[in-house]
């Protein structure tokens, strides 16, 4: 599985990088698995090079482009992250549906404090007002509005948006809790088991104390066990602290999706899917 994801990453990365460069004015040409990007002056200045070569599957060291240069890759990705947080998108209204329904799409990046749960991108689709019983449009149907549509799109209703937002927060918290619950419960079980093991030792310790063996040479061992018990109590507190699942949700992008009547003759020129 790891191999598959690595392969996918390798295939995706040059595409993403070339798309970023292209969106910032670079002239990108593709030949086979190699992208060549000639950078405009401002981009060349910020990246420190006027030409970037991106290679799909680097066969040899000499053939490597930005993919091999981690620092350059990172800088380009940073450019890709520098904008595009908020957008308005449209989707064609299905037959019989009333155009005008709106949805809020929120992309949360969730970072769990525990490595047992991977970081994830959580996407929420919530109706911003009456949705007419429709589900949020599928990703493939979303597109940017044409200039004409942009003019006609109604401004979002603050109150409805606020209600959607409040629902989103409650839903987000619920989903995070659900995700954490099994891990927390397992942690609790582990701690409980450790404590049970310990309590067996404590019993033997107490038995030793009661049987009067403490005056014998083993006395030292009993004393040590008491010390151990105190240590354990302290460590238990530390272990609980260690197993806290601190989680942070960061809203990385948001969009407002509106249903519009299907343009005659299919999608408009500016209406490539997003």
């Amino acid at each position: 599985m790891a191999t598959r994801s690595r392969t996918r990453e390798r295939a995706e990365l040059p595409e993403i990088l070339s798309a970023i460069l292209e969106s910032r004015g670079a002239t990108v040409s593709k030949r086979g698995g190699v992208w060549e990007a000639a950078l405009p002056a401002p981009l060349a200045k910020s990246l420190g090079t006027d030409q970037v070569r991106l290679v799909m599957a680097p066969a040899a060291r000499a053939g490597r482009g930005a993919e091999a240069d981690a620092a350059l890759t990172e800088r380009i990705l940073l450019i890709g992250r520098s904008s595009g947080e908020v957008a308005r998108l449209v989707a064609p209204a299905p037959k019989g549906a009333r155009p005008g329904a709106q949805w809020v799409r929120l992309h949360w990046r969730i970072r769990y404090g525990s490595d047992e749960i991977p970081e994830e991108l959580l996407v929420q689709n919530l109706p911003a007002g009456p949705s007419g019983g429709l589900r949020a449009p599928r990703d493939g149907t979303l597109r940017p509005p044409t200039p004409e549509e942009s003019r006609l799109l109604p401004a979002p209703d603050p109150e409805r948006l606020t209600q959607a937002w409040m629902r989103a927060l409650a839903q987000l918290e619920r989903r995070i809790r659900e995700r954490l619950r099994p891990h927390e419960e397992r942690s609790r079980r582990e701690l409980h088991r450790e404590m049970r093991t310990l309590s067996i030792h404590f019993r033997s310790l107490i038995a030793e104390e009661r049987s009067g063996r403490r005056r014998r040479p083993e006395d030292r061992e009993a004393g040590r066990m008491l010390q151990l018990k105190e240590d354990w109590e302290r460590k238990l507190a530390a272990a609980i602290r260690q197993r806290a699942f601190d989680t942070e949700a960061r809203l990385v992008a948001a969009s407002l999706v509106s249903l519009v009547p299907e343009a005659r003759g299919g999608r408009s020129a500016a209406g490539a899917p997003v």
Binding site: E85, H107, L169, V252
Partner: protein
Amino acid sequence: MSRDGSAARASGFRVGDRVVHRAFGEGLIVEVRERDGFEVLEIAFADGIRRLTSLYPLELARGGGRTAGAVPVAAQPVRLGLELPSRGQFRIAPGAEELFQRLLVGPYDDARDHDIRLRVERYTLHRGFDRLLCLDRLRDVQKYEHQVQACKTVLRRMRGRSLLADEVGLGKTIEAGLVLKEYLLRGLVQRALILVPASLVEQWDQELRRKFDLEFAILKHGTAWWEEPLLLASMDTAKLLRHRDKVAAASFDLVVVDEAHRLKNQKTLAWKFLDRLAPRYLLLLTATPVQNDLHELYNLVQLLRPGLLGTYRTFGREFMRRGDRRMPQNTGRLANLLSETMIRTTRASTSIRFPKRDVTNILFDLTGPERDLYDSVTRLVRRLVQGHRETRRGAIKLTLLTLQKEIGSSSFAAVPTLAKLMARETPGQARTELEALVHSARAIEANAKFEGIRKIVESSRDKFVVFTQFRATLEFLARSLRGMGVKVAVFHGALSLREKEAAIAQFRDRARVLVSTEAGGEGRNLQFCHLLVNYDLPWNPMRIEQRIGRLHRLGQTHDVRVFNFTARSTVEAYVLEIVHEKINMFRSVIGDLDMVLGPYAEAGSFEDAVFNIWANAKGERDLDREFGKLGAALLVGRKRYEAVEELDGKLLDGLNDGDA
């Protein structure tokens, strides 16, 4: 529960505010607190007190009772009560509300940028620690598969609490650095403490700085070190009574302990100190976790995973053979338990080829004037040391020790110290004698040992590094080599960071020889070269090892040739005999030189021992006898170390096999 202070940060409402609710009318906030991650407001309405979360749309009433200067919530543009919940376990990073505002009124981004951003976000999501973020951010570090694997195991399976027990030379420091850097990059560690033997503080500092780009503060008395998020300290300093409470109170997220076999005994202050720190993540580094008794391993594991190996007594009963404290039984189960917290990589299990060390010791006869000067300086040093009363000896001893080392390096190096001594003396016989020494030192223009350099230059075409301890010798060497038409790069502590980098680059790309002082021995990676000359020999074996270690390290593809230059009947000749014949340090890597040196491991103490023998000797027989004793002590240390290494090899590698 958070009172109005922190709550005000969350929603802007405070106790005493008058607010208007759509259904309940006007009310007075009597309490602001947090519950289940939401801010709960207790509001006294006309019909009684109600509890509402701050997510409900509320507005400040007119003249809402705020003090002057406070901005009413309703007066702010499109506020809508959107403050986010905040709890210990789940928090929303700042900035979300800003995006919400932009959804309402714009400006909107281009849809294509939006798409790119989402793709970038998706791409940069890594599954747990499957992909290490730190690998792209290291400098000048050759990473090996076993190191990366160890790092992932520590992060994923062992949850940051691990005993790194790799064999010597496989890069435990790099593994610890990788874990540290990864945690720091992921924000899982904010405060880290590294505890090392005093003799290794400087080396760790250099490595962290150069390889991992981490600036650690060093624990020093008189500084506010406890405020530093990244702290490097010697274990002995950190556990001092005046420091230990502050270190414990600083509550470090990650603690790394190098040479952790020093924590083998539960009764020691060091063990108790570390136990008290109770950090979230703990890395113990040692190649020899067991020295005499399996309980030592138990004690180390007890720090990492208390209870994993049972109690002290049950561990002995279950896992130790009767009558032999070193040999384990039930090895399969012990291996299983240890694999939860210990990582041990052996040289045999990696495909790494370790270069050999090929050593040539060259003994020179000093020229007539050099010999006279050396003997005169030695006489002066002995007279001054023996002549001073014990109480006053310390003040002058350091100067004399330096002088003796300088004259062992070259006559040029001794001039400044001789001149300083001369300036201190009042006119008289002593001053006249010193004047004569300064005069004869200045008159010497050549150095017998330089012949050796000339021969190397002529007989080989390889690049080589010449180490010396003193700037004056370094300048003489650079001058003389340039006089021969050899391209020379010069490296010393007075260069700026940029000049140092430039000197290394010059040596790598153009120059044939790098002449370097001790400053070049620390942290600089010179493995593209495999020939080293110790033009003078430090009296401290650790420094010698550091010099060789710059070339003889993982990644070196050639066998390393070491030339040791010494002059006959000098301190250096005796030191060389000890470190070469007794410790055998030129031939192989010694993992824990500390253990070999025993009581001489403390900074300066071996040098002191050498100097005391030299300065108090009545004659050559005295010297032979005393240096013989010193050598014998080190030989014992070496044998002990080898025995421990062998035991750990048998014991732990056997356990690893059992695990497999």
